[in-house]
Symmetry: C2
Subunit: 906 residues, 2 copies
């Protein structure tokens, strides 16, 4: 078993493809060495040692010691210095390096190999530099390996600076630094209860152990959780000969991106510090300077100006790296005595804007193919291109001016500014005059109209999967949730934040759903360029490069993907937007949202409260024209595309008032007695409404409700058909658990449908299918497949029932479940492939077994989640359906899923 891999002198034992074994950093160092980029020699201890380390009670494989010694000798030979040598000591850095980048999450030690003797060897050339390095090393090593608080060291450093009157570390004289080393060693003795280790090998093994241990420190664990990096990957350790950016003014250190990571602009972009070590840049102690002249905004001197020759070398290197890796690189470099060394290269993180632009530019530059461009952009990032934005300067001025009221979870990206409304009703009415921010403790389904009217939504409770968050993302509304430091007081009509004047209804408020910031007062916003071109028609395509790249990328994606993308839309406007975003139809049109509108809810309540079927039918007749008009509008927007309409789903009591006050108001409106109405409300109350009398169960009891809806659908189709519009309704029965439910209701749809068509003298093919959202439905999918013409997995409910988690209640334990790794992710965000996924797979197979032509889709929230989309592709689904603003994400993710699937399939 090979545990250690050497790199140096233009050859390396590893290469870029060995990330699993060498980690990202080690693989990058090896690859750079191999392609002739100047890299200080060193070696990488593989991730397999980390695995061994944790599997064997934190011990090493027996053969490791020799392998390290042997490779250390090669490094000594390469640089002509010896580890621990008094005259020409070799100093090394010891750094972690996992398969995936985890910046700053694990520990690093520089200048290792210094002790009271070797420092003298260094001091012979430059005393100040030697003791500066030594004191840095003691502090870093003590912090990382000996676990002594760095505070103690820094306290002494600052005291020294005061004493000698130095306004920066660089101005502390050598003599004082030598003293400081003594002081530091005393701190180690006092706080650590031991002498600072003088044996350089002890130093090295201490550092290696610390790096392996750092894989499981709290920061690293949290980072991995947030970024979905498996715990068992482990880290490699890179031991590399030191080069010094802090040996004088002809030295420097810096980080750079080969293109702008924020905008994607094709310009070398980075920062450096002269006479400094790498950690100084990252730590932000000194403000770094721009690398390129083009970056300069004030009077700073760029590296291009101060060291034009080294800058030219750097340009050569970055071009070499970019064309070698064919992607934007994030590099670290050090200049020692005018000589350039590269210490790291990796694929650079970037914003959605940058990702799209870089991918498109590289296609234009001939560097990558369309397919590669599609694979390059993280699908979820593309929503950034759709969100409204604040003016950057105005926002930072507001924050600096003390207007930042607090911070919550960034639940829906984009910027919004508007007047505060504390209720959905107020939001609707206020929105007629000004943009509104709906501010609630939390939201519920009754607030939908208000949320729709609002420019943005703020809640003080709830997480990223709360009602507010989910609905807001679906609507494309900027949203901040769980802003715990803010208090909503409905009774006083105030929003309070400590240290600020309370805000009242009607006051201006701004929220940034991308950052989570909440800012008092008005801030100008503007729609994204994509929206301006595509939806609002306020900008020309030719004016917006952002739009053009967005559009190109998605078209390339469309050429690759086999999975269809539809949308969940309940209104003509949503349908229009989704179509512009590229939706190939509606996968879920919920009909109950139509029931909540002001002029309709009264009819709905009359229907529910009717004393007999006749009364219900009468009320339903009043509702029919409304539903029909809704469907007509949608069919017009989606001419030629399928529109899957789900018949009524929620339990009836959701349409009734709940509080005594509301009951009283409704009773008055409807001419009912309060007591009588309250009794009816109580009678309809359910212990577990999620598992109650809803969906097709309602239709079994009250067939007239679905009959009205079916009639409305067919009549609407007939009306638009006569206008020459190609309406393609698909009728979907929700909450089916047994084949008889589906048979009975499918027959009803067919019967009412043909009556209606006949009465209108129209012919129209309509297909009828079922939701698969109850575990039993997936289990009996072979039977259902004999009746249904399509399946649509309702993965929200399927997840609720398969796990036995009520989404409304799971907030009390689900976050802890993710924290404690009982679940890898929130199963409402990304489908639980292990459990719920089995039912999706099995339901699809069994359904297709009964009917090979069965169309199968997904219409839960998961339809817009890239990981879930990848899974659905492996299940062989025909399409996913998601909210309009997720359609571009789904198109891109579907293409990426296709690429992975084909790769996996061989």
């Amino acid at each position: 078993m090979k545990y250690v891999y050497f790199f140096g002198d233009g050859h390396a034992e590893g290469n870029a493809k060995m990330k699993e074994v060498l980690g990202g950093k080690g693989a990058g160092l090896a690859e750079m060495t191999n392609i002739g980029v100047p890299v200080p020699p060193g070696f990488t201890i593989s991730t397999e040692v980390c695995t061994y380390f944790y599997a064997h009670g934190k011990t090493y494989p027996p053969e490791l010691k020799d392998a390290v010694a042997e490779n250390l000798a090669r490094v000594e030979q390469s640089v002509g210095r010896k580890f621990g040598d008094k005259e020409k000591p070799l100093l090394v850095s010891v750094r972690s390096g996992a398969r995936a980048s985890m910046p700053g999450m694990m520990d690093t030690i520089l200048n290792l190999g210094l002790n009271d003797e070797t420092v003298q060897g260094l001091a012979r050339h430059d005393e100040r530099f030697a003791f500066d390095s030594y004191r840095r090393f003691i502090q870093m090593y003590s912090d990382v390996v000996l676990e002594i608080d760095r505070e103690h060291f820094e306290h002494e450093l600052f005291a020294l600076r005061d004493r000698v009157g130095a306004d920066s570390d660089a101005k502390i004289p050598a003599e004082s630094l030598r003293e400081l080393v003594g002081t530091y060693k005393n701190i180690v003795r006092e706080k650590g209860g031991r002498e600072f280790p003088q044996d350089v090998h002890e130093q090295l093994w201490g550092a290696i152990g610390a790096v392996f241990n750092s894989w499981n420190n709290q920061r690293a664990i949290t980072y991995r959780k947030l970024n979905q990096i498996p715990d068992d990957w482990g880290t490699a350790v890179n031991v590399q000969s030191m080069v010094f950016g802090n040996m004088g003014d002809d030295c420097a250190t810096g980080v750079a991106f080969t293109r702008n990571p924020s905008t994607g602009e094709r310009k070398f972009f980075g920062e450096y510090l002269a006479n400094a070590q790498g950690e100084d840049v990252v730590a932000g102690i000194r403000t770094p300077l721009p690398i390129s002249k083009s970056q300069v905004v004030g009077g700073e001197k760029s590296l291009e100006e101060t060291m034009p020759d080294v800058y030219a070398q750097l340009e050569d290197v970055y071009k070499k790296l970019e064309s070698h890796y064919r992607d934007m690189q994030d590099i670290e470099f050090t200049i020692q005595a005018h000589k350039l060394y590269l210490l790291q290269t990796r694929t650079g993180k970037r914003t959605g804007f940058a990702a799209v632009k870089i991918a498109c530019d590289m296609v234009d530059e001939g560097l990558i193919s369309h397919t590669e461009a599609v694979a390059r952009v993280e699908a979820g990032q593309i929503v950034q291109l759709l969100a409204p934005m604040f003016d950057v300067k105005e926002k930072s001025k507001a924050v600096q001016g003390g207007r930042l009221l607090g911070r919550g979870l960034p639940a829906g990206p984009g910027a919004a500014t508007g007047r505060i409304a504390f209720s959905a009703e107020r939001a609707v009415s206020m929105a007629k005059d000004d943009p509104v921010i709906l501010v609630r403790v939390e939201t519920s389904p009754e607030d939908i109209a208000g949320m729709h009217s609002a420019a943005g939504i703020l809640t003080t409770r709830g997480g990223l999967t709360s009602h507010a968050a989910v609905v807001a993302r679906g609507m494309g509304r900027p949203c901040v949730v769980g802003a715990g430091n803010l208090r909503v007081d409905y009774s006083k009509g105030e929003l309070r934040s400590e240290g600020h004047e309370p805000l009242e209804e009607g006051d201006w408020l701004s929220i940034d759903g991308t950052s989570g910031e909440i800012i008092g007062g008005k801030l100008a916003t503007k729609p994204s360029e994509v929206i301006q071109v595509l939806i609002d028609n306020t900008m020309q395509e030719s004016e917006s490069e952002v739009f053009r790249n967005f559009d190109r990328l998605l078209k390339w994606a469309d050429e690759i993907r086999s999975l269809g993308v539809r949308t969940n839309a309940d209104t003509p406007n949503d349908a229009r937007v989704a179509r512009l975003f590229g939706a190939a139809g509606i996968g879920l049109c919920r009909t109950e949202h139509m029931f909540f509108a002001e002029e309709r809810i009264l009819r709905v309540r009359e229907m529910i409260l009717a004393r007999d079927e006749k009364g219900r039918r009468h009320a339903l007749e009043q509702l029919l024209p409304f539903q029909q008009a809704d469907f007509e509008g949608i069919f017009r927007e989606l001419a030629g595309l399928p529109v899957t309409i789900r018949l009524l789903d929620p339990p009836l009591h959701e349409f009734l008032p709940q509080s005594e006050q509301q009951i009283s108001a409704v009773a008055r409106d409807m001419g009912w007695g309060f007591v009588e109405l309250r009794a009816k409300v109580n009678q309809l109350h359910e212990s577990n409404p999620m598992l109650g009398h809803r969906g097709c169960r309602l239709a079994v009891t009250y067939p007239e409700i679905y009959e009205m809806q079916v009639r409305a659908i067919y009549q609407a189709a007939c009306v638009v058909k006569k206008e020459g519009i190609d309406a393609r309704p698909e009728v979907m029965i929700p909450l089916v658990g047994t084949v008889r439910e589906l048979t009975i209701l499918t027959e009803m749809v067919r019967r009412v449908g043909s009556e209606t068509l006949k009465a209108n003298g129209v012919e129209l093919p309509v297909i009828v299918g079922t939701m698969i959202e109850i575990p039993r439905a997936a289990l009996v999918a072979d039977k259902l497949g004999e009746v249904a013409e399509f399946f649509s997995f309702g993965t929200n409910d399927l997840t609720q029932m398969t796990f036995g988690y009520s989404r409304d209640d799971a907030g009390t334990f689900l976050p802890e479940y993710v924290d404690k790794k009982i679940l890898p992710k929130d199963p409402f965000e990304s489908i639980d492939q292990e459990g719920v996924g089995q039912l999706v797979k099995l339901g699809t197979e069994r359904g297709r077994g009964a009917n090979a032509n069965l169309k199968v889709g997904v219409c839960g929230e998961h339809g817009g989640d890239p990981d879930s989309i990848r899974f659905f592709r492996t299940c062989g689904l025909n399409y996913v359906s998601c909210s309009p603003y997720r359609v571009p994400v789904a198109r891109l993710a579907a293409a990426q899923a296709e690429l992975e699937f084909k790769h996996y399939e061989g």
Copy 2:
């Protein structure tokens, strides 16, 4: 395809094994013919014609007509009469006969073949008989085939009786009957709009069609639903030459059981009516007389006395039939001119008491084996042997106190006390509040729902084979029939008995279905003999044959079964009872019931309301001694047997007060502010508590709760162990959905357990397992099987989540689902094999795949349901667990399941 099967002259084309094709009656007639029992010749039209009839828009197979004609000719030849002949007309009966007995549910027509001409042929011998038969035929045919209300005919009959001064039909003179026939034909003309059919073939085919149609009349559908008879079995039609019990005083008709169907006593037991047709006995219009001398209680004359020669023939026949069928038979016979004819034989319905006694007696008689005895007793019926009886002393005091209102025939054993309801509808509605005694003159198939709701049934007319008697015995309801000294007055709503105050609807009444006594007012009931011997020790085994047979039968069952039977018990007393009933341990001990006791709930609430973990731990410490004491008690009762203890399952808010009033009271008790407590209650409120923060989810959040419970279990085990008692706790984690939950909590159990054992210096093997009650748990059972030492399917919750039915709410639609055949049965009563059953099967297979030694059981309600037990046996489960009183049922059902499984497996 053969559609018609002849029987007669000592040979039949069918036999007893052809029930599927010939129906029960047809198969019986064929078999009796073959073994030499005197049966009037006839033929059976097979059930396949019924299937064809419904599949082809109520038409017949083309070849049927000829086949019927041909068989009719054979009958004519056999009896020497011709169908439709003026001189010697052949008359036939047309009767339904399904595979399973459905008494009185479908239609029958007698005397078919009479018309204005053929009646003359008959009248030549006996004019009165001829016209009596003709008027009966017209009425019956008009009712069944022409659908003319029988009311019209009866009205004329009663008017005629008054006119001629006859106090019974038998006393109406021939001339008047001839007139009556004319009147009847007028009724047909007026009410039916047609002439009464004179063509005998038209009569025959009309009757055949009516029988097939009657398969789907409402009564038949209801009966099949209650008795779980598939709708697609269909009925056969039996056409048989008539014999007449009403041709004079040397004629009679009767029904009999080869043993007493109520007690099982080995005595020929039956009733007859001289000079009557069969329908007269069943309809209960005249009170029939006993067959055997031994049955005589008053001064009636038995058949044994009036026709000793025929009685002797009948004894020969019944003995032949019983030894041929090796089971108790229910026979119908007719005596025509001193000659005996058998019209039907079938396995006799019997009470649970009779079933057990007959099975045991037949074993003793060498007729059947132990295995056959076990297979003979319907498992659910055995609970009758556990049903309460009246306290003898209290009853005799009531009788002596003048409360005995009368006496009827003991038609269904057991004691019942309840409020009087005079209609089935009232019985259904009143039964929601109190036990009900349904009191009717006689019952009819429309009363079935009311009979089901009633605790007991009383009729003033009819015999032991009347509708009321047969149905009540099938349902296990105490029943008294033919209480002739009581008068029901529906119009006044009174039950009168001379010398007593009339009773009204709602008054209390008591009936003894074993003795036939009817007693006014409420009477305390006392335990059955089995309970007295086994549980209460108030009776010696030697005193109770009932107990001895019960015990023998269950021991034979135990020898056969492989499936273990445990019990669900939460208290030492339940544990004791269950053990006495034969439970081999506890399969489910719920710990939360212990939390509700008065002195504990306060501690529980303190625990829930505690502001931090410390507060919770403090309250839990107070609870620990209670829990420990409970467990000690259970371990003592179940020494040497496994006790599966489920850790806390319900959500915490179940322990808190809900109404404002309760909250106020609790707040006062606990020294909390009302507002504060209400806020806490609201905070814990869940939208769908079934899917909320409960079970192991609570333990993930608040590990201290389970830690206390585990400590209490282990400490209790240590305490009793020191007393020398072999405690065998098994710890069960509820609501597991992911393997991590199980891993974390199993580790906790192990840790706390070994701490406790160590502290007590005790060694004890404890196994830890999980409920499988969440669909996901079944899906990931391969993973769970790696950790768990046992699985227990919680089929109640598994049914709720797999169907998405909240048991608390499903009442709004589930009855309708069963009515409309969307579901074959209530899935909470009998496991849904098609859906939920897949998860049980798959979970078991996957769990065993990971751990071949995994013990797997079921602890939902289904553990006591015979059909479900049969299914669990096929899944290969190790045991079922049910409530203590269902343990005998489960033992018997498990043995029967084993027999079926082995048979099925070949």
